[in-house]
């Protein structure tokens, strides 16, 4: 992934309009944003402000109604659905609020899921899974299914899955939103470590000022517009 002018993510004049029946809902309007490579950015805002929508657009999970999203020099609107999926697999790691692990698979199998798309051999995949689980400190729980893990452990598996294929950009949607303070702090330590020690660029959506304080920069989103000041 190439980085021009030190910017990994560039959002240019993005509008996002959802259609609900005959009603058009404008979630983002003419939004611009830049995220330098290696930054840990917290994105805050009230419910319905469009934080998750913006994260989805940056991660190529959705497409803007208007405007451009450029990540690592790649204009996402130029990619077909198939190429966009391959691009996500290669460059994006996603961490969800409710972990979104596959309940039928063990922790290690969950972490392996994105690696199945790569040409890696079984032993190479196993090695990468072990490394990812080691990073999140869950090697000894690798054979457990999600239902046998605590919320904090499940989120660690979620992070291991996100970093297993060594993506450039980590997108975290309320990663501590479903956790108690202690578990949340552990997850934030982990994300901070990934940012500082491994140079991962992280964009984290959060409601929690305590979580946002761990980020290098905080931006606020309200009524589809960004500001560096908290909303009223």
């Amino acid at each position: 992934m190439s980085v021009e002018n030190g910017l990994l993510v560039e959002v240019e004049g993005v509008d996002k309009v959802f259609q609900r029946g005959s009603e058009s809902i404008h979630v983002l309007g003419g939004l611009d944003m830049e995220v330098p490579a290696g930054e840990f950015l917290a994105l805050m805002g009230p419910s319905g402000s469009g934080k998750s929508t913006l994260l989805n657009l940056i991660g190529g999970l959705d497409r803007p109604t208007q405007g451009s999203v450029i990540v690592g020099g790649q204009r996402l609107e130029q990619l077909s659905d198939r190429k966009l999926a391959a691009w996500r697999a290669r460059h994006i790691g996603l961490v969800f609020q409710f972990y979104n692990l596959l309940p039928v698979l063990s922790a290690e199998r969950n972490v392996e899921v994105p690696l199945l798309l790569t040409p890696l051999s079984r032993s190479q995949r196993k090695k990468q899974v072990e490394t990812a689980l080691d990073v999140v400190g869950l090697t000894d729980r690798s054979g457990h299914k999600p239902a046998q893990l605590s919320g904090g452990e499940q989120q660690r598996v979620g992070i291991a899955r996100a970093i297993a294929s060594d993506p450039t950009l980590l997108l975290c949607d309320e990663p501590t939103g479903d956790l108690d303070r202690k578990s949340g702090d552990e997850i934030l330590d982990l994300l901070q470590g990934l940012n500082e020690q491994q140079g991962k660029t992280i964009i984290m959506v959060t409601h929690d000022p305590h979580a946002a304080a761990r980020a290098g920069r905080i931006v606020y989103l309200d009524k589809g517009r960004l500001s560096s000041e908290p909303w009223e």
Binding site: D62, A85, L94, L102, L116, R161
Partner: protein, 383 residues
């Protein structure tokens, strides 16, 4: 193969539901296999019938006799190499339910005409040397525990003897094996000279002829020629290929193939609904998980194929287990106690069963798979 763990994990998600669906598919394929064996039994002879053999019978009905003198007239025709006759004896061994066909034939000609009935040289010689000698297929010999050297009494229902007796006694000189799996090994053949000299009436008449021709391509022409030869005589003939004759014989009961097809269509349509509902439910329950797969980079097509693979594995597993069970049940033997002498599950039906299982898998999985393919990630993650 690397996605197998993912597919298998999803199949195990609701074990009871998967097992019940699997059982319903299994039962359908047991029925498919078993009915296939029954259909094969009714059609036995068609598949192994000689392409170079015609059957000549009375135009009115097979129970009307034909003169023995027709033999030389048919053998004189161009393209005919041999004409061999047989007659329906219709006797009873011990009790009427012990049914098997008994046919008097001329041994030398018969053995030459039907090389698929395998006898040893000693058995052939013994048959030629014994006027009351008879040979029987392995199926019937095993059924009644007969062995070579036994004396077999058969009670006549049509052909009483000149001395007024109804009991015909035969010396078993050979037990024939079928050259092919579908060869009828239930029949009982005895010598026509013994039959003709001993019967109280009907001397000089026979039941039907098998006619061997030089070239199968001439079958239609020779059949017409034979029927024309005996047209306007007191004993007009109807000539047809041996396969068509056997098929016509089986269809006296009804169109077995059509009946089986109707039953199986109803069964598979029901299974289509059952398995289709299972797959639709299975996909509805994990919309979010499918969205996660797409979010981490699985293409729409890959997700669709995963769902289709899941339904195909389910139906193929049920199909293979069902066919295996059917094969085992069929191997236990003819359920009618002897009316279906050739009773086996043909390889052709096993292969067809696997193809049907695969088609069933695609048919049941295609709608949920398309639904999964069309799933919008952001919408699905919000659910």
């Amino acid at each position: 193969m690397k996605f197998l763990g993912l597919i298998w994990g999803n199949l195990k998600r609701k074990k009871l539901r998967t097992v019940l669906t699997l059982l319903s598919i299994l039962v359908a394929f047991v029925l498919f296999g078993y009915l296939g064996a029954i259909r094969q039994a009714f059609n036995q002879g068609i598949d192994v019938a000689g392409l170079d053999r015609l059957v000549v019978r009375h135009k009115v009905s097979i129970i009307q006799p034909l003169p023995e003198s027709y033999k030389s007239r048919m053998e004189a025709m161009a393209g005919v190499s041999k004409a061999v006759f047989g007659t329906w004896f219709g006797g009873i061994y011990q009790k009427p339910s012990n049914f098997f066909a008994q046919v008097p034939v001329v041994p030398e000609e018969f053995m030459e005409m039907f090389p698929e009935y395998l006898l040893t040289d000693e058995e052939k010689q013994a048959w030629l040397a014994t006027r009351t000698g008879a040979v029987v297929g392995r199926t019937t010999a095993d059924r009644f525990g007969w062995k070579v050297g036994d004396r077999i009494p058969i009670q006549a229902t049509i052909w009483s003897k000149k001395d007024g007796s109804e009991t015909w006694e035969f010396d078993l000189v050979g037990i024939y094996e079928g050259a092919e799996k579908g060869t009828d090994a239930s029949q009982f053949f005895f010598r026509h000279d013994y039959f003709d000299e001993s019967r109280a009436f009907g001397e000089g008449v026979v039941g039907w002829y098998w006619v061997k021709i030089d070239n199968p391509e001439d079958a239609a022409r020779i059949a017409t020629q034979i029927d024309d030869e005996f047209a306007n005589s007191p004993n007009e003939t109807k000539t047809e290929p041996e396969g068509a004759f056997v098929k016509g014989f089986a269809e006296q009961i009804g169109n077995i193939g059509a009946i089986m097809t109707f039953i199986l269509s109803a069964v598979f349509f029901t299974i289509l609904l059952v398995a289709g509902n299972t797959m639709a439910q299975a996909v509805r329950e994990r919309i979010q998980e499918l969205a996660v797969l797409k979010a981490v980079g699985y293409t729409d097509r890959t997700v669709m194929i995963l769902i289709l693979a899941e339904s195909c594995i389910l139906t193929c597993l049920g199909g293979v287990l069902g066919l295996a069970l059917a094969w085992w049940l069929v191997s236990l033997g003819d359920p009618s106690g002897g009316s279906l002498p050739v009773f086996f599950l043909p390889n052709r039906d096993l292969l067809l069963g696997l193809v049907v299982a695969l088609i069933l898998g695609v048919a049941t999985g295609i709608l949920p798979a398309l639904q999964a393919q069309r799933l919008a990630i952001a919408d699905a993650l919000r659910r």
